[in-house]
């Protein structure tokens, strides 16, 4: 096996924060090499250096044994290094072919377009993708967009392919299919770097694994011989097991959703006559294949999208279906949206402001003319400590500088600052590492034990199974099946697919 890419002694800092500290990594042709680590461990930063997006402060990059200086992503691609980012770098209104031509320019638009179509067809056939070059990327599913990203990189003749958390956005079945494709690619001689925080993916699909922690590469191992416990130890330092759940001791109905109907602006119905109830002290899990109305349900529950018809009844507050977000807050409905930085936090505002905004409208920090910033900071400091939000150097620091897990903890701290009556959590552990995920789950279970009605909407079946007292399966905007705990994973999986 030849060494394709070697990184040695890489250091990189952002605003004085050392993201990478003497990191080293190497991958050979034909190898699937996993880069394992928690969020904020520096995996993406290290790979962004390899892909030419970040210039390292110091350190050496060698491709095929020759040291190189990468001037930018395009230069990296010329050297044969291509990266599929976690947040896709696709121009949404463009077609598939336009996106691929953009990244792999060819002289002459018409001839270039023809050649690009041919190249797409060739790659799609090799990889077993069904990609139509003339479809708009905005109309594609997440899995399809990822396929476009992979084809885009491969069309450019890349021999070192970096996949940044590729399965984070996929369902189980889609993830399996992708990882099989990755294996097939490696067999053609491509060096594949699989950035991930999922241990089972490493165990099942990687030839080698390098573990990162706190910006350093701490070990390289063979996943077939290393035990799960060893790898976990290396990644996390120490493990936090999920606490034993208290017995299921629910009260009366706290949240009742009746005949909820939603439609998109173009008239397509996204939620059709959907009904369910959640009792106090109960976690109600909503599973389903992505794009079956889960996002719309979450948005309707927290008040981002008013439903066309139906009721959202909360004990003590009445029907909130058409109520404003403040009315929902007054009814103690806690919202934990899927996309933290679009719907939960204002990245450019400070941590204190992001925390205080939850209660500022009810006068907790002074009346309308003046805001008591000291009270705001005191409350935030207390919450940051209580909810173990790390990486806070100052309460004035921008919220965007928090890593995913800590940002989510900040959201939960705000939403739980008053005892919540109803919790709506959409993909609460998306993009979080094991430890942060465990912490989030603990908080949700604590809310349940304190008597809240908790709705967890997630495409991660493990998360649903761990948390839920009752599980619903959503398909095409309806609830098609309900299961009591302990639920049969197979049966849930079948219900998800049968109607999907």
């Amino acid at each position: 096996m030849t060494i394709a890419l070697t990184l040695t002694g890489i250091r990189k800092s952002f605003d004085g924060f050392l993201a990478l500290d003497d990191a080293a990594f190497s991958v050979g042709g034909g190898e699937v090499h996993a880069l394992l680590g928690e969020n904020g461990a520096g995996k993406s930063s290290l790979m962004n250096v390899a892909a030419g997006l970040y210039a390292p402060d110091s350190g050496e990059i060698a491709i095929d044994g020759r040291p190189v200086v990468l001037a930018g992503p395009a230069d990296a691609r010329r050297h044969g290094v291509g990266m599929v980012h976690q947040h896709f770098k696709l121009v949404k209104p463009f077609t598939v072919a336009e996106n691929i031509l953009l990244a792999n320019p060819r002289p002459g638009y018409r001839r270039g377009m023809a050649a690009t179509r041919e190249a797409i067809a060739r790659q799609a056939e090799t990889l077993g993708f069904a990609i139509e070059p003339d479809r708009r990327v905005a109309d594609l599913s997440i899995a399809e967009q990822q396929q476009v990203e992979i084809v885009k990189v491969l069309v450019g003749g890349v021999r070192i392919l970096i996949l940044d958390e590729p399965t984070a956005v996929l369902t189980d079945a889609e993830a399996d299919r992708l990882l099989e494709t990755v294996r097939r690619l490696a067999e053609t001689g491509v060096a594949v770097v699989l950035v991930t925080h999922k241990l089972y993916e490493v165990k099942r699909h990687a030839d080698a694994v390098t573990v990162m922690r706190g910006g350093r590469t701490v070990a390289t191992a063979d996943p077939r011989t290393a035990s799960t416990a060893e790898l976990t130890e290396l990644t996390v330092g120490q493990t936090t097991p999920l606490p034993a759940r208290a017995s299921f001791d629910h009260g009366g109905t706290r949240l009742n959703v009746g005949a909820l109907t939603c439609a998109r602006a173009d008239g397509q119905v996204t939620l059709a006559d959907l009904s369910f109830f959640v009792r106090s002290g109960e976690i109600y899990g909503v599973a389903g294949v992505s794009g079956n109305g889960q996002a719309e349900l979450a948005e309707a529950l927290v008040g981002i999208r008013p439903p066309l018809a139906g009721e959202i009844w909360v004990e003590g507050a009445g029907d909130l279906a058409k109520a404003a977000p403040t009315a929902r807050r007054d009814a103690a409905v806690a919202a934990i949206p899927a996309d933290r930085f679009s719907h939960a936090l204002a990245g450019s505002l400070s941590i204190a402001e992001n925390f205080a905004v939850g209660e500022v409208h009810c006068g907790r920090y002074g009346g309308w003319p003046l805001i008591d910033r000291n009270a705001m900071r005191r409350a935030t400091a207390a919450a940051v400590a209580a909810f173990d939000v790390q990486g806070v150097r100052s309460l004035r620091q921008k919220a965007a500088l928090l890593s995913g897990g800590n940002a989510q903890k900040l959201v939960i701290a705000r939403e739980f600052s008053r005892e919540p009556a109803v919790v709506v959590a959409h993909s609460p552990s998306r993009g979080l590492d094991a430890r942060a995920c465990g912490a989030v789950h603990q908080r949700l279970l604590a809310a349940r034990d304190a008597g809240a009605a908790v709705v967890v909407i997630s495409e991660d079946l493990d998360e649903i199974l761990t948390l839920s007292d009752r599980i619903a399966v959503m398909s095409r905007g309806r609830i098609v099946a309900e299961f009591d705990r302990p639920a049969d994973r197979q049966a849930i999986g079948r219900a998800m697919v049968d109607h999907g």
Binding site: K92, N99, L101, G112, G347
Partner: protein, 311 residues
């Protein structure tokens, strides 16, 4: 009545051309993601330099138009530096350029004594026997060269935007600069080039008003047409041909104003002069009510691009 109609319609291209050219110039720069409010100012620069070059240099008026285009492009480099290099808020930068140009053209033009100095201007072309056709001849075949040139310019810009590598890169920069950057397209270079190229057309629009339309220059003669062009771009959803349609609509309104007075119809003068702006509001209301979801708007319009920002 027929005479009134023919004269009115024949007058439309002259009033519509500044709107059309300015809107097209703005479309080029806004497609690259730069929210460009500088049109009014750059049109003033074009209007003044056009007349100035006629008075000072003489020569063919088409040369004056070219000089005006160059002058606007040079001034637009200031806007490009503010928005692309320094990443100042694009609305503020655009407004600053407008007020700067208002002051600058007023100062230079009056110091040099170009105010109300009549020039020969650009004559209309009479296209042979075709111009003899009753009605249609006067409307279609007796117009100035810029009007005839406008059609191929629109065709060319539309084609380059939609079916060329340059256009593909430019649109990508405007829709998703991070993706364009990752694809190896220089975001800053494309944005600066788009501003400069678009501003040449905006300058041409301004010079057209003074050199071809009024055939003299006075302070602030653009009179808000630049702002209407900004509105036209939104109305046209950032697409060239609809912008031409919109420009013709405004041309219609502007062309009818003097003719109504001339025909002896008694309507309050200021109400008539207000019409284009009233129409702007009406068009915006219509656009807002019918075109939901920001279709056509470049995804990154108004957003400066910074590469190494961590989220």
């Amino acid at each position: 009545m027929t005479d009134f109609l023919i004269n009115w319609i024949a007058g439309i291209p002259v009033t519509a051309a500044p709107y059309a050219l300015a809107a097209l110039g703005l479309i080029i720069s806004e497609r690259s993601g730069i929210l460009n409010l500088s049109a009014e100012g750059l049109m003033l620069v074009g209007a003044m330099t056009g007349v100035a070059s006629c008075i000072v240099l003489g020569g063919h008026p088409l040369i004056a138009l070219v000089i005006a285009m160059v002058a606007s492009s040079v001034v637009s480099l200031l806007f490009a530096m503010l928005t692309v290099v320094l990443r100042i808020n694009q609305v503020i930068a655009g407004l600053a350029i407008v007020f700067f140009c208002q002051g600058l053209t007023g100062l230079i033009g009056n110091l040099a004594g170009w105010q109300n100095h009549p020039i020969a201007g650009l004559d209309k072309w009479t296209i042979g026997p075709l111009s003899e056709i009753p009605g249609i001849g006067k409307i279609l075949f007796i117009q100035d060269p810029v009007v005839y040139l406008a059609i191929p310019i629109f065709y060319l810009v539309n084609r380059v935007l939609r079916f060329s590598m340059v256009g593909l890169n430019l649109r990508a920069v405007g829709e998703n600069p991070a993706a364009a950057d990752a694809a190896g397209v220089s975001v800053a270079l494309y944005r600066i080039a788009a501003i400069v190229a678009g501003s040449a057309l905006v300058g041409l629009a301004g010079a057209y008003i003074s050199v071809v339309g009024v055939k003299l220059w006075f302070t602030g003669m653009v009179g808000g047409r630049g702002w209407i062009a900004v509105a036209l771009v939104i109305f046209a959803r950032w697409a060239p041909w609809p912008a031409l349609g919109g420009a013709l609509l405004f041309g219609c309104i502007e062309a009818v104003i003097p003719r109504i007075a001339a025909a002896g119809i008694r309507v309050p003068q200021y109400l008539m002069l207000m019409l284009p702006y009233l129409a702007t509001i009406a068009v915006m209301v219509w656009a807002g009510a019918t075109q939901r979801g920001g279709a056509g708007e470049p995804g990154a319009l108004g957003q400066p691009h910074v590469r190494e920002e961590r989220r």
